[in-house]
């Protein structure tokens, strides 16, 4: 190779690093570097402008909200009706109503001191069922805490829900966590943890693993609009895009993070407004429209897997219930506001109206199902309440894969202590094995 004098273009270091550089490529480089057409910065090569103009964040109306049905459950554009089977739609309806019924019973049970804590899903049933129905049952779900409907859709039984809430010996989580921290290996739902947003970069890592494993599966990551303010959310969105991960980010924007309304959570165009900034395909949907949620999720899944890239869905909805049993939302919002959503824009009533219009449902079925549903929930409830808690020695299990000696030592010490002071510990409530 002839040595080439590139000093005039400041390319000495480039030349030093390139062992081989052919004349064709070199002329391309010189052409690129001498051209005045576009900025050449590695960080962005968009366009030049000579106008001093700041982008105004309120320049446009915001990303529109995709819907299929109106608030009364009537399909607006028939081409958007996913044309799900009667069986499927009834299953969706039953799942949402069963979730609602279970919520009522378990919320009440906390009030009565039977379980320590509970979080309801009122108003957001559509976001759960609509999205879960569009996934493959083997897609891995990372949730936040208000996605019980996705587990219910997949087949988590009433017994399993209640065993976890009661922390009894049948709880898959072995009584380690507060109520609603569900998890299921069989149903591909990663166990919930309390810290917000931590699931988001984890979902990205899992999706990367799935990509490498070429298993045709994607990862679904749920989070709230409040959680999207956490640093982990930014980390996750950025990593997913730069590393081309097949993950769907599903934001339940329900208007409140405990008492903090969304206008105190962000100043931009919600969470959807951030998607394009990360280089991500984005959509905003009506979260109370089961079909809109279904369509968006189905399409997102397709894109995530066919193009190996993340997709962001912001599902707009409303949190009808309190944040949790530790919250009384009348302290920060009006009863009228809540009533509006409960009566005028509810995912369950909208789907019911759709079913009625198709002749798939009626008053008789409604009454029958209501009673059947309540009975199922109540009997599961009674069963869960009667079961013993796990053996107290479970305190020491699963800290590590194998129990190290220092933990065994502590277990032994406590065994001796409990034996000596047995009458001061609630042993009768705990299993002996």
């Amino acid at each position: 190779m002839l040595p080439i004098r590139l000093a005039c273009y400041g390319l000495r270091s480039v030349a030093a690093n390139c062992k081989r550089i052919n004349i064709g490529a070199l002329s391309q480089i010189t052409r690129k570097f001498s051209s005045d057409e576009r900025p050449q910065f590695p960080g962005s090569r968009s366009q030049w402008t000579e106008k001093l103009e700041f982008i105004r964040p309120d320049l446009y109306d915001g990303i529109p909200v995709y819907r299929v049905m109106d608030r009364k459950g009537k399909v607006i554009d028939p081409s958007q009706d996913p044309q799900l089977s009667q069986e499927m739609v009834i299953k969706m309806y039953k799942c949402m109503t069963q979730l609602n019924t279970m919520d009522r019973i378990l919320y009440e049970s906390q009030r009565q001191g039977r379980i320590s804590f509970y979080m309801t899903n009122y108003g957001e049933e559509g976001t759960h069922i609509g999205s879960a129905a569009a996934l493959d049952p083997k897609d891995l779900i990372f949730g936040q805490y208000r996605e019980a409907g996705t587990l219910m859709w997949r087949g988590f039984t009433l017994d399993q829900f209640m065993n976890q809430c009661y922390g009894n010996m049948e709880d898959g989580g072995k009584g380690k966590q507060m109520p609603v921290h569900y998890g299921s290996k069989d149903l591909n739902f990663v166990t919930i943890s309390s810290p917000l947003g931590t699931q988001m970069p984890q979902a990205v890592g899992a999706a990367y693993s799935y990509k490498r494993a070429q298993n045709g599966l994607c990862v679904m990551c749920y989070f709230g609009e409040g959680t999207s303010s956490e640093g982990d959310a930014h980390a996750a969105l950025n990593f997913s895009a730069t590393l081309d991960c097949p993950v769907i980010f599903f934001c339940r924007n329900n208007g409140y993070a405990i008492s903090t309304p969304s206008k105190e959570q962000y100043r931009g165009d919600g969470i959807a407004g951030r998607g394009p900034a990360y280089g991500m395909l984005t959509i905003r949907v009506d979260g109370n429209d089961v079909f809109a949620v279904y369509n968006a999720t189905a399409k997102a899944r397709q894109v995530a897997l066919n193009e190996m890239r993340p997709v962001l869905i912001e599902a707009m909805t409303y949190r009808i219930g309190h944040h949790s049993t530790s919250d009384d939302s009348t302290a920060y919002r009006s009863v009228d506001e809540v009533r509006y959503w409960d009566e005028r824009d509810h995912p369950i009533s909208r789907l019911r109206n759709y079913m009625l219009s198709k002749g798939w449902w009626g008053d008789v079925q409604e009454k029958e199902w209501k009673e059947d549903c309540k009975r199922q929930v109540m009997t599961a409830f009674a069963r869960a309440e009667k079961k013993l808690k796990p053996n107290w020695k479970e305190i020491f299990t699963d800290v590590y894969h194998e129990m190290p000696s220092h933990i065994t030592e502590q277990l032994k010490q406590m065994e001796e202590h409990v034996q000596k002071y047995a009458e001061h510990y609630p042993l009768k409530n705990f299993s002996k094995d």
Binding site: L140, F142, D171, G172, G173, K174, K176, Q177, H181, G183, S184, K185, V190, T191, S193, P195, T198, M200, P201, Q202, A203, V204, G205, A206, A207, Y208, S209, Y210, R212, A213, V219, G231, D232, H234, A235, A236, N238, F239, T242, L243, T397, D398, V399, Y400, H401, E402, P404, S405, H406, I407
Partner: protein, 322 residues
């Protein structure tokens, strides 16, 4: 091989033997700022050795998720000083994954590596030894190698261990520690302390770089005080090998612990509390800790800050004359 070469070798073996293994972090693709990942992207491919954006909490979270979903995830944090943004992911999530899920989920195949400790000029943010923060978190394993031979085996053990592991590599040793490292694949046991020098009069405990300082102290003590020191490298901070230390102290009756990290709530405090409990009647003198001071790590004053051999020697003198 020096330390970074031994680590490079260990990582190479991990990737060669486990098709699910991936290495990721800031700047790992070109070889890493300390050359630990040189050649690995070339050899194993871009999908297995890759850069992430600059975000430690993202790196840790990503690693946890990858491990949960079946990969052997080997994350690099560029300096242990910058592991703190990842604290939530490491301690609230990784450490508790198995416990809180009743064993349904775990991230046991996660290993996080980070260069740690003093390097001569690192100051506040390139010299930290954060092992004590993580020692307080049940569910994690924390390992600190003293040299290339140990590092290669320990790192492979961590990668294959079924628990999330933190592997802190003393950066000053990357180039300066050179040993005849076996080229074959081998592992070394975690949670097993090494008795490097046998002695009768006093037990010296350290890890990482400090082991070499204490070795010199052993010699000084022998030459100047006619004192026979037993030198122990703790190797694993969590779960730590209390048995080996206790057995040694029952023999010698005296214990000196030395570490670069600050005194208050440094890991020496845990060792001291446990050993005084288990060996109370065997002790001839109080347990002594020679450590960094309770200050951030200073720049110009590093020679005064470090638990150097003279401070350790002085402590040995005090203990044998107690």
């Amino acid at each position: 091989m020096n330390l970074f070469q031994a680590i490079n070798n260990s990582l190479d073996l991990a990737l060669s033997s486990d098709p699910t293994a991936i290495i990721f972090g800031e700047d790992v693709a070109f070889g890493g700022v300390f050359r630990c990942t040189v050649g690995l992207q070339e050899k194993h491919g871009k999908s297995r050795v890759f850069n992430t954006p600059l975000c430690e909490q993202g790196i840790a979270g990503f690693g946890i998720g990858a491990a949960t979903a079946g990969a052997t995830a080997i994350a690099e944090i560029q300096f242990a000083d910058y592991i703190l943004p990842a604290f939530d992911q490491i301690c609230n999530e990784a450490a508790k994954y198995r416990y809180r899920s009743g064993g349904l989920y775990d991230c046991g195949s996660l290993t996080i590596r980070a260069p740690c400790s003093a390097v001569g000029h690192g100051a506040l943010y390139h010299s930290q030894s954060p092992e004590a923060f993580f020692a307080h978190c049940p569910g994690l394993k924390v390992v600190v190698p003293r040299g290339p031979i140990k590092a290669k085996g320990l790192l492979l053990s961590c990668i294959r261990d079924k628990n999330p592991c933190l592997f802190f590599e003393p950066k000053i040793l990357y180039r300066s520690a050179v040993e005849q490292v076996p080229v074959k694949e081998y592992t070394m046991p975690l949670s097993k302390a090494d008795i490097l020098v046998e002695g009768d009069d006093i037990t010296l405990v350290g890890w990482g770089t400090q082991v070499h300082v204490l070795r010199e102290v052993c010699q000084l003590a022998k030459d100047q005080l006619n004192v026979s020191c037993e030198l122990i490298d703790l190797v694993t901070i969590l779960p730590w090998d209390k048995e080996t230390i206790a057995q040694s102290v029952k023999k010698t009756g005296r214990l000196l612990i030395a570490h670069e990290a600050p005194l208050t709530s440094g890991f020496g405090a845990e060792i001291a509390a446990s050993i005084q409990h288990d060996c109370f009647l065997n002790l001839e003198a109080p347990i002594e800790r020679v450590t960094g001071f309770d200050t951030p790590f200073p720049h110009m004053f590093e020679p005064f800050y470090m638990p150097d051999k003279w401070r350790c020697f002085e402590a040995v003198k005090k203990l044998v004359n107690y």
